[in-house]
């Protein structure tokens, strides 16, 4: 598909989303939708560097905050319209991204991740000590109640973020199908080999850090107007870093669809969890889903859909089975303490438990093992006396114990793959 056609389709979809959101007539849809879209932009931006070239950026929050603070700065300096501020935020973050890329060109793997983490801390300290933009007390941004054509200001911000999401996705897709994207993929697969075959790795990495940084800054630029108040701890929050890593990892990192799916799914889940339970739980959900996803579905949800199979054999190792089983029970316990509105979230984790038991049982020819967590799910949804929960706990313990006691048959086909990485 040509890029301009894709762009038109994206724009049409975005327009439809905006129209539908207007039809609901509920401002909260816009309020929550803004955050989800912001994560779409952040995840797509992260994926350009992290997914395409394989360089993990832990400093997403720093680029996001740079965009936000450049808005605050110019708002105090001379009030500009937000679209212009978004461009400025993008330019500032892009320059910093370029600088970071330049400074860390020689670093690979984990060292690059640490450098981005350090950059985030340094930038946060600078902002905390810069009184012009509010320092550690934060800055207030007075926003108008409405804008001429669209009306409600939140609707306007939502529309802007929608446009940004379209830009980010089109950029990511264009890169993916261009010479640039093949260069990035070459770096991801084997940087040394790429360099040896004439791929200008340094230049490509600089381009990737710049584009990724610029998009993150653009996502951050409207942030002060969204809340009307920005402070360093909220703009540099670790949530942005963890979410912008988690969403592509859960969705799938190799194409533009992955971050989009991951961000829509995880972003909406988080909004639901924040409203129905608490914001602490939504961080727990993100953490658990990353752990589950990287182990069970290495290629993310997109990989699941495309290949129709997960890395089920990984539960042949009792330790993997035990750890995954144990940590996926944690949210069940806490979600169950909450009101009934949280129950739909439980389904995800019950599903993972059932899947684990099914795969583990399959290895030993006893798929019936999965009946234990299935029974647990059913019992946990039966309204009844409190002691029923003890039955659920007992079923879970039984599932874990039986799973550990089963001896996988035909372990030859599960023999460890010899590592080709030996020098």
């Amino acid at each position: 598909m040509r890029s301009w056609l894709f762009f038109l389709i994206c724009t049409a979809v975005a327009a439809a989303v905006f129209g539908l959101a207007r039809l609901t007539g509920n401002d909260y849809v816009f309020f929550a939708g803004y955050v989800v879209l912001q994560y779409v932009v952040l995840a797509t931006a992260w994926n350009i560097l992290g997914g395409y070239t394989g360089y993990v950026n832990f400093g997403s929050a720093a680029f996001f905050a740079l965009g936000a603070y450049s808005s605050v700065f110019f708002h105090k300096f001379y009030p500009l319209p937000i679209p212009l501020l978004i461009v400025i935020g993008g330019v500032v973050s892009g320059i910093v991204g370029f600088g970071m890329g330049y400074l860390t060109l020689r670093l690979r793997g984990a060292f690059f991740a640490i450098a981005t983490l350090a950059l985030a801390v340094v930038l946060q300290t600078l902002i905390v000590n810069w009184t012009y933009v509010g320092g550690s007390r934060g800055a207030y941004v007075i926003r108008p109640d409405s804008v001429p054509v669209i009306g409600n200001y939140v609707h306007y911000l939502f529309l802007l973020m929608l446009a940004l999401a379209v830009i980010a996705i089109v950029t990511a897709r264009t890169i993916e199908h261009s010479r640039l994207g093949y260069g990035f993929a070459a770096i991801r697969d084997d940087e040394l080999a790429a360099e040896a075959s004439g791929v200008p790795t340094l230049r490509l990495k600089l381009i990737a850090t710049t584009i990724s940084g610029a998009l993150m800054g653009m996502a951050g630029a409207p942030f002060p107007y969204y809340l009307g108040y920005v402070q360093p701890t909220s703009a540099f929050a670790l949530d942005y870093a963890v979410n912008s890593i988690a969403m592509p990892m859960i969705g799938g990192t190799t194409s533009w669809v992955g971050p989009l799916v991951g961000a829509l799914l995880l972003g909406s889940l988080q909004q639901i969890a924040t409203v129905t339970i608490s914001s602490a739980v939504n961080l727990l959900i993100v953490g658990l889903l990353i752990v589950d996803c990287v182990i069970i579905a290495p290629k993310g949800i997109i990989g699941l859909v495309q290949e129709r199979r997960t890395q089920g054999t990984v539960v042949a190792d009792p330790a993997v089975f035990a750890l995954l089983y144990l940590i996926n029970v944690i949210p069940l316990y806490f979600l169950h303490q909450e009101a009934l509105s949280a129950r739909p979230l439980e389904i995800i984790f019950w599903g993972i438990l059932v899947y684990l038991a099914y795969m583990r049982g399959g290895l030993a020819g006893r798929r019936s093992l999965a009946m234990l967590p299935v029974a647990g799910t059913i019992v946990s949804f039966v309204p009844g006396p409190a002691w029923l929960w003890l039955v659920v706990v007992a079923l879970n313990i039984a599932g874990l114990a039986c799973g550990l006691l089963l001896k996988p048959q035909g372990s030859a086909r599960l023999a460890p793959v010899a590592r080709s990485g030996a020098p």
């Binding site: 450098a115 300290t125 990287v294 993997v320």
Partner: protein, 346 residues
């Protein structure tokens, strides 16, 4: 809220009472004083008066106190880092969840201390086998899911990142976000040598940290398994040819690195009141120290930790505590940019 609904299930979950909270605030103020390098209020006044390093009467006692505070802090940082120094420096496992395990250690020390009245350091030593087992389990999962397939870089990092948040949020859900602290005889009094103050709540962790470091260094250089661990770092294939299983050796090493988190956690809760997200402050710091000192070298990590402690202490004494992270991490960025192998790299 979650915390509200969970309260009263168990007595350890009750938050700090008002007088206890005041005491904790005082402790925190004391800590911040220490962070500034000035322990007594008199000296803290002096910081304000002298303003900066360029004033006429150079405050020599301030300088000495800042140096001592930096060294004490550095030794504590060393204890926090030693686990990462083993897992990241020697085994190439980017265990970003280490601070999460440290906070877990703090809370376990806290429970044992408040329930049974056991000294937190003793409690952490009792818990060593449990942490060792936890480390072995985590390594087994890491190996079976990532290392076996040679996919450890991106997914392994994400795995530990997820683990960090699972630990942190689970602790928040169980204990709430109130600060917790422990009781011990050495928290409070301090020794005085001339103008230099040595608060025992810093000195004891410092000594324990140095002992831990010495023991690990001896273990790594003198015992068979220790040497095998160092060999894994150098040449895995050669070790395999010698008839040792690299995976088993790595599991032992990783388990030891997680076991140190138990002790580091106890030291942390002695030095400062702890709440679950305190660990985040240490993610950057531990990796900074590892890179400063150079990977794969325990003495290097110790020196790196001391260096970071002194840098932070001096910056906060002479420019204010809010600047210290920037200076420390600025140094880290420069080290990474110009000498990626670290100051004492392998």
């Amino acid at each position: 809220m979650v915390r509200g609904s969970l309260q009263g299930i168990d007595s350890w979950r009750e938050p700090l009472t008002r007088p206890a909270f005041a005491a904790h605030k005082r402790a925190n103020a004391r800590l911040r004083g220490l962070w500034c390098g000035s322990i007594s209020p008199r000296e803290r006044g002096e910081v304000k008066r002298c303003g900066g390093i360029g004033t006429v009467d150079f405050p020599i006692d301030l300088l000495l106190n800042a140096l001592v505070a930096g060294l004490l802090l550095g030794a504590f940082y060393a204890a926090v880092t030693v686990g990462v120094s083993i897992s990241f420096g020697i085994l190439d496992i980017v265990n970003i969840a280490h601070p999460g395990f440290i906070i877990l250690g703090s809370y376990i020390a806290y429970i044992i201390n408040t329930r049974l009245g056991v000294d937190p350091i003793v409690a952490s030593i009792i818990m060593l086998p449990a942490f060792y087992a936890l480390g072995a389990l985590v390594y087994q999962v890491y190996y079976a899911s990532f290392e076996k397939y040679g996919q450890e870089s991106l997914r392994g990092l994400a795995f530990f990142f997820g683990l960090l948040f699972v630990t942190e949020v689970t602790l928040i859900l169980v204990f709430g976000v109130d600060y917790r602290y422990v009781e011990a005889a050495y928290i409070g009094p301090s020794l005085h040598f001339g103008v230099v103050d040595l608060p025992l709540r810093m000195l004891v962790p410092c000594l324990v940290a140095l002992a831990l470091f010495g023991a690990l260094q001896l273990f790594l250089s003198r015992t068979f398994i220790g040497r095998a661990i160092m060999a894994v770092a150098q040449d895995q294939l050669a070790l395999q040819l010698m008839g040792a299983s690299p995976m088993r050796i790595k599991r032992i090493a990783f388990a030891i690195s997680i076991a140190t988190a138990s002790i580091a956690g106890a030291l942390l809760i002695i030095i400062q009141p702890v709440e679950p997200s305190v660990g985040r402050e240490y993610i950057g710091r531990v990796f900074a120290i590892c890179v400063f000192g150079g990977l794969g070298s325990l003495p290097g990590a110790l020196i790196g930790a001391m260096l970071l402690g002194i840098i932070e202490s001096f910056t906060s004494t002479f420019y204010g505590p809010s600047w210290s992270p920037a200076v420390a991490f600025g140094f880290l960025l420069l080290t990474l940019a110009f000498r990626p192998a670290g100051l004492f790299g392998r």
